[in-house]
């Protein structure tokens, strides 16, 4: 058994040293694997000590105690005693694969020109071979919602797994939702034009909200049929209006959230998710009433105002979770693509400030899957679901112990090498050979 394990890791190392830059996506799972002796984090808040996970043909076949597993039926056994197994972490509202180098315009593909862009689809620009994307895997981030930015309706997102030859292979849910940047109720003067840089109530807020409502009204009228010429923008809302897509409304302030939810309800949109939700904790009753889930921002941000709770940003997930809101973590913000690999530590930081540790895990696994609508095949370690999971040396929410030793997507054994590990080895070799 040990030999199998050794040869297995040897192959992995070999792949790592032979290739430079992009790693070769793994082959289909051809041998069944059983991971034993580990602390199993199911993703639904439950933990199995000394547990085992088995999978075959890309699907999970066993989750339970090590004792209860029929180890003889598996071709490969991975002894993970003292280690932890997690479902692959899921980054929501990310823009992975849509830009390679933030400051180089030629590599930026996330922000299209225009205001109402539901027809703009992120999936076709998703760069499956991005060096930034491959750097997710060694931290356990194995799936992501890749989302356009900009505009009032920024476009349509898709969910991808992070080990693929191309976007088509990467997609696990195409066109999962449409994103609205809800008009800001407050605005800042353009100081570079000599305006007062203060934040004030926006004078154009209601006008811009009306424009959103008008657009949807026109679209739903259009969708009733009768027009001769096709309108691509309106047509792109079809699945949403039919309840087959989610609507993600990016809004932070209390006023914006309430207005957005009330508008969506009135418009007949039931699959609603609030993204950001900085002040969502003060309107949880409304959110619960309409079954609205929230994608909270990265806790690694500063309080909005000087008077705010110094530790406020760290507490948002707990405050919402305690009220029974379904919460996951979203990625938008400074250097968001490269920072997406810090997703586990965002969850950990929320846990440091009162959220139960397993609930923190749940936020970036099953909760995220539920919100994205992929929980029928991903998000937790349950039989029949995709074998998208990883083994960490210790607590994966803590940077000291988030040491990913093996990772699998749909049962495929991933390379954990990256552009960065390659450079690490290259230069350590240089120094060691001196």
């Amino acid at each position: 058994m040990k030999n199998i394990y050794k040869s297995f890791t040897y192959i992995l190392l070999l792949i790592g040293t032979l290739t430079y830059a992009q790693q070769t996506p793994a082959n289909k799972q051809d041998a069944s694997i059983l991971i034993t002796g580990a602390t199993i984090h199911i993703g639904n808040g439950e933990v199995i000590q000394n547990g085992a996970v088995g999978f075959e043909n890309g699907k999970i076949t066993y989750v339970g105690t090590t004792e209860g597993a029929t180890s003889g039926t598996y071709k490969q056994i991975v002894d993970a005693s003292g280690k932890h197994v997690y479902p692959g972490f899921i980054a929501t509202n990310a823009s992975l694969g849509l830009a390679e180098i933030d400051a180089v315009k030629a590599t930026r593909d996330f922000d299209e020109v225009g205001t109402f862009l539901p027809h703009i689809r992120s999936i076709i620009a998703y760069n499956a071979e991005s060096k930034v994307v491959e750097s997710m895997r060694p931290n356990g981030v194995l799936m992501a919602q890749t989302t356009p930015r900009g505009g009032t309706i920024s476009g349509t997102s898709s969910v991808v797994q992070l080990d693929a030859w191309n976007w088509e292979d990467a997609a696990i849910k195409i066109d999962d939702g449409i994103h609205i940047n809800w008009p800001s109720a407050y605005q800042q003067g353009r100081w570079w034009l000599g305006e007062d840089p203060s934040f004030k109530p926006s004078k154009t807020y209601s006008k811009r909200v009306d424009e959103v409502a008008d657009f949807f009204h026109n679209a739903s009228t259009y969708l009733k049929g009768g027009q001769k010429e096709k309108n691509l923008q309106f047509a792109a809302l079809k699945k949403l209006m039919e309840g087959e897509q989610k609507l993600y409304i990016h809004a932070g302030r209390e006023k914006e959230i309430v207005d957005a939810v009330n508008w969506a309800v009135k418009t007949g949109i039931s699959n609603l998710v609030i993204v950001h939700g900085n002040e969502a904790a003060s309107v949880t009753d409304l959110l619960k009433k309409h079954n609205v889930s929230v994608l909270v921002p990265r806790p690694h941000r500063l309080p909005w105002a000087q008077d705010d709770d110094v530790l406020g940003p760290f507490k948002l997930a707990k405050n919402l979770s305690d009220k029974g809101i379904l919460v996951a973590i979203e990625m938008e913000g400074q250097m968001e693509r490269m920072n997406t690999r810090n997703l586990p530590f965002y969850a950990g930081t929320y846990a440091a400030h009162g959220l139960d540790k397993e609930k923190a895990v749940q936020m970036i696994t099953l909760n995220a899957a539920k919100i994205l609508g992929i929980d029928d095949f991903a998000g937790s370690l349950e039989t029949g679901k995709d074998a998208t999971l990883f083994i960490s040396k210790g607590d994966a929410l803590d940077m000291r112990t988030n040491i990913v030793e093996h990772a699998f997507i749909q049962g495929r054994t991933l390379s954990l090498e990256t552009h960065q590990t390659t450079l690490h080895k290259r230069y350590m070799k240089k120094y060691n050979n001196k």
């Binding site: 109530p201 500063l302 530590f345 400030h353 000291r400 960065q420 450079l423």
Partner: protein, 999 residues
């Protein structure tokens, strides 16, 4: 009501004796004017109770209680009215247009001055005389006169050195020959560059400060004949040296900055403050400077919409509440100051605001002094203005009573012997109750208010009728709609007011029929009773909330103080040979760590049970940009002359937020706008202390350099400044160091000369920039260099080698792992990010293993933030090096404590838990690098500046105070007081590459 300003030319001053006259005969009016029976305020403290003021030819001849009035004097009996010297507006741009800023972003930056024969920087214009630009502004003059002002000191408000001001009497009768009292009254300075020229430098407050210093050095050098060419700016600056120097600081913090420069060059600035001096009154008092103080108190924020109340920060609410106490606080602390109308949207609101300050306890005598004797003295014109001493200009006010009494009326403002009527004092007071008789009806007419603002109330029995009265030029006009008039037509009545208390007049009825009418005054009620009633009326409660340090949310009512503290039973991360000690006590006394061991005791110590907790040295951030009012001086490719120490901000909330993450010391680095940046400020995060006390006095001097994309302006579409390539970057360094070397030699040779020889030799020019660079060459100042790719890292080490010094630290240094061996050889440290990459091209090869690799090759390694958010979780960032590269936990922890302390040459005092070192300690809830750890107590030099347990209490008090102020502002709004829209005042956030001009 329209403001009536009539001017009567009592005296003819305009024609000079030697001027020809062709419009009449050359006669002279030699009469005096005597104001008798007046209470004359010669100065705020010297008062003649019942005296006579005698003026002639626009000047005060004499005054006294038993004055002999010459026969050829026109006598004006003032009947007990008051005479005051009129006010002085010492800070103004009266009649001088201030250029507006133009915004054009496609414009290429203007790097050099546009002028020849003047200073090298367009914003230094001491040669400008405000007088040359003055166009007497009659409208503005009338406004000021109405507010009680008689003279104004006006200058061109543009640029850093703005030239001289003119002292102008607000005399619209005569010409400049008479009303210009002084053509060069003062020299004006500021920190704000002008709009006249688009020259880029300086782009920052610290650049402006450095530039001012250089001007002082250059002026001295120029005066000793150092220059070979003529410089009209420096020439003028030297000539203006003996004038009063008025500095527009504009805020309390900038006042302290201006004072710092004044002290360095032995000048006395008269500083125009910001009205927020009360927030740090001790520091303001300690400047010993004289001030010009605006009273543009902010209006209450309109918080009637609860959705928007969150926009207004506590500090701004407080300022609304506290600002009216500013004059009182200054006066109570013995600060000498004049008042100004500057900042007021309308001059007419000056009196209201002043009355408000008086209501808040500002002494009336001090108020009068601040408008008369103090500004007169500041301008060195006490013999001419600000008092009514013999020989003074006849600028005075006639008031019905105490000039600062709410009920007093200001009648006249005389300027240079010309009368300006503000309220007609001859207008008889006709207020009272009358029986109005008209076509058989008798109505009750009540007239109330001052003569200029008379109001009417007309009743038939108890039935009120719409009515309006006007009273002007000795006529009373009354219109009203009679009670029985159905078509809402008016009755219009008129009458002349004469000696009698009653009126008889004519008019028209609603129908248009002519009519005559009369009104008979009823005996007045006992007014003494009214007065008493008024006096008994409770004085309005004024609640002023206390100031905190700093005066913002989370500010401290009392500054943190050193304690004797015994941490009991902690896990102590010593960062020393002892490693991590379990169950250990640490005793802190007098700001130092005095004992580490088991079972320590100290009877005076407060014991903190640290069982299950971890005690470490405070985190040191080698690369921070918080707590600064400016970060980049981007105007030149080398700005070694600027220093962040000039612009440390003690009220940045990020100081407190950093404390919440266990940070105790930071290096505030200049940004990366240019290869040779500015000097650093190494500070301790002593929240509550003033900026100068944050600066660590034990720190060695440092300077920021930068390489790569930022300095070559890679993301600027109109970058034209040298260098635009890495090749050019090298040459910038070589060029500057070569010049610095030669500069240093030149001075060393000069300093070697004997006294006699020195007297015969011209001293070299003192150049702050070169001085700074020479310090680097002489190993007295140390370089922390922003760097990314290996080629440039290697280059800078080679340049340093060539000039025989060492780079102290490479910061960012994301490709340090590629040249770790060379870095080790050079002896340079590496202060890097844990895992940042992919944000620009030059970090394409940045890897999170960088710290581990550099560390493995013996390079002194640290993890820094360069980010106000990341800086408060550097413990997590250190922990990442355990994940990426397998650094041991003890070593990883040193990356954010001992190692950066070493880089800053402070490891003899901070960075580890060792007896004798500063008690800069953090108590963590658990393993400090655990993702679950929180800083529980953050201590600097034995004083606790952050306490997690006290946070809820602080937040509650913020909420309570906000609630109180919100209610106060709602009340103010309901009372009809002016409000302003709610907003969050945002400063532009500063990053490494923030390039805007920062005030």
């Amino acid at each position: 009501m329209l403001f009536l300003l009539a001017v009567f030319g009592f005296l003819n001053l305009s024609a000079q004796k030697y001027f020809p006259k062709n419009d009449g005969i050359k006669t002279k009016n030699d009469n005096y004017i005597a104001f008798t029976n007046a209470k004359i305020h010669i100065t705020p403290t010297q008062v003649i109770e019942n005296g006579t003021l005698l003026i002639k030819d626009g000047k005060v001849v004499s005054s006294g209680s038993s004055l002999t009035v010459p026969t050829n004097a026109i006598k004006i009996d003032l009947n007990g009215k008051h005479i005051y010297p009129s006010f002085i507006e010492i800070y103004s741009n009266f009649g001088i247009t201030t250029p507006k800023r133009s915004f054009n972003f496609n414009r290429r930056p203007q790097l050099d001055a546009t002028r020849k024969g003047y200073y090298w920087n367009d914003h230094i214009t001491p040669e400008i005389n405000g007088l040359d630009k003055l166009k007497f502004d009659n409208k503005k003059s009338a406004e000021l006169v109405k507010a009680g002002f008689g003279v104004v000191n006006t200058h061109f408000q543009d640029g850093i050195i703005r030239g001289t001001s003119a002292l102008v009497a607000l005399n619209s009768n005569d010409g400049n020959d008479v009303r210009i009292l002084n053509g060069k009254a003062a020299q004006h300075l500021s920190f704000r560059k002008g709009n006249t020229s688009q020259q880029s430098y300086p782009t920052s407050l610290m650049g402006a400060m450095a530039l001012l210093r250089q001007v002082y050095h250059d002026a001295k050098w120029y005066s000793k004949g150092g220059a070979t060419t003529t410089d009209r700016s420096l020439d003028a600056f030297n000539k203006n040296k003996n004038l009063p120097q008025i500095f527009d600081a504009g805020s309390m913090v900038n006042s302290l900055r201006a004072d710092k420069i004044a002290n360095e060059f032995g000048v006395n600035y008269i500083i125009k403050g910001g009205g927020d001096e009360y927030a740090r009154i001790k520091e303001v008092k300690n400047t010993n400077a004289r001030y010009i103080i605006p009273i543009d108190f902010p209006a209450a924020y309109d918080v009637s919409n609860p959705l928007n109340e969150g926009l207004v920060e506590l500090k701004d609410m407080r300022h609304w509440n506290q600002a009216p106490t500013n004059p009182k606080v200054l006066a109570d602390n013995g600060v000498s100051f004049a008042l100004t109308t500057t900042g007021l949207k309308k001059v007419s609101s000056f009196k209201n605001n002043l009355m408000n300050a008086i209501k808040h306890g500002f002494d009336k005598t001090k108020a009068l002094e601040a408008l008369t004797t103090v500004p007169a003295k500041m301008l060195g014109q006490s013999n001419l203005i600000g008092s009514l001493k013999n020989g003074s200009i006849a600028n005075f006010l006639i008031s019905s009573g105490d000039i600062f009494d709410k009920n007093s009326t200001l009648y006249e403002n005389w300027v240079q012997g010309h009368k300006n009527v503000i309220n007609d004092m001859n207008l008889k007071d006709i207020s009272g109750e009358y029986d109005l008789k008209i076509v058989g009806n008798t109505y009750k007419l009540k007239l109330s208010g001052k003569p200029g603002k008379l109001k009417s109330e007309l009743k038939k029995d108890s039935l009120k009728m719409d009515s309006k009265v006007t009273y002007k030029d000795g006529w009373i006009n009354l219109i009203y709609i009679p009670f029985d008039e159905k078509e809402k037509r008016f009755v219009r009545l008129k009458a002349v007011v004469n000696e009698s208390d009653n009126f008889t007049g004519s008019g028209s009825l609603a129908s248009g029929m002519p009519v005559s009418w009369s009104a008979v005054k009823k005996p007045t009620k006992d007014s003494a009773k009214d007065e008493k009633k008024k006096a008994n009326k409770k004085v309005e409660d004024i609640e002023v909330l206390p100031v905190s340090f700093p005066n913002t949310a989370y500010g401290l009512s009392e500054k943190a103080s050193q304690e004797t503290i015994l941490f009991r039973n902690a896990t102590v991360w010593t960062n020393e040979a002892e490693g991590i000690l379990k169950s250990t006590d640490v005793l802190v006394k007098n700001g130092k760590i005095v004992n580490i061991g088991a079972n320590l005791t100290d009877s005076n110590a407060r014991i903190i049970d640290a069982t299950g907790k971890h005690l470490t040295a405070g985190i040191v951030d080698e690369h921070s940009h918080i707590a600064a009012a400016a970060i980049n001086e981007a105007g030149h490719n080398s700005t070694a002359e600027v220093t962040i120490e000039d612009v440390v901000s003690d009220d940045d909330i990020n100081i407190f937020r950093n404390l919440s993450g266990g940070v105790t010391s930071i290096q505030i680095l200049h940004g990366s706008a240019n290869p040779i940046g500015g000097r650093s400020a190494v500070i301790k995060l002593k929240w509550g202390e003033s900026a100068d006390k944050l600066i660590n006095p034990n720190a060695d001097p440092f300077i920021k350099f930068a390489l790569g994309e930022n300095v070559k302006q890679s993301r600027s579409s109109n970058g034209i400044r040298f260098p635009q390539t890495r090749m050019g970057v090298e040459q910038v360094f070589v060029d500057y160091f070569q010049r610095a070397k030669e500069y240093d030699v030149e001075w060393k040779n000069y300093n070697k000369l004997s006294k006699k020889a020195k007297a015969r030799t011209k001293a070299p020019r003192y150049d702050i920039e070169m001085e700074t660079l020479a310090q680097i060459l002489n190993k007295e100042r140390f370089v922390s260099c922003h760097s990314y790719v290996q080629s440039e890292i290697n280059m800078l080490m080679k340049v340093a080698d060539r000039f025989n010094f060492n780079i102290n630290t490479f910061t960012h240094i994301l490709e340090g792992y590629k040249v770790a061996d060379k870095m080790k050889e050079h002896g340079v440290a590496g202060s890097t990010f844990s895992d940042w990459w992919a944000y620009k091209y030059e970090v394409n090869d940045a890897i999170p293993f960088n710290a581990a690799i550099m560390h493995s090759q013996g390079v002194l390694t640290a993890i820094n933030s360069d980010d106000r958010e990341m800086s408060r979780r550097l413990n997590q960032e250190a922990a990442k090096t355990v994940k990426y590269g397998g650094v041991s936990e003890e070593d990883a922890w040193k990356f954010v404590t001992l190692n950066p302390a070493k880089m800053l040459h402070l490891d003899d005092r901070i960075g580890s838990v060792k007896v004798g070192k500063d008690a800069d300690l953090v108590l963590w809830t658990e393993h400090p690098m655990s993702i679950y750890a929180k800083a529980e107590k953050t201590m600097i030099e034995g004083a606790i500046y952050y306490d997690l347990d006290k946070l809820p209490e602080m937040m509650e008090s913020i909420q309570l105070e906000r609630n109180k102020l919100i209610n106060m502002m709602l009340k103010a709004k309901n009372k009809g007081m002016k409000t302003q829209a709610p907003k969050t005042k945002k400063k532009v956030e500063l990053h490494c590459d923030t390039l805007i001009y920062q005030q």
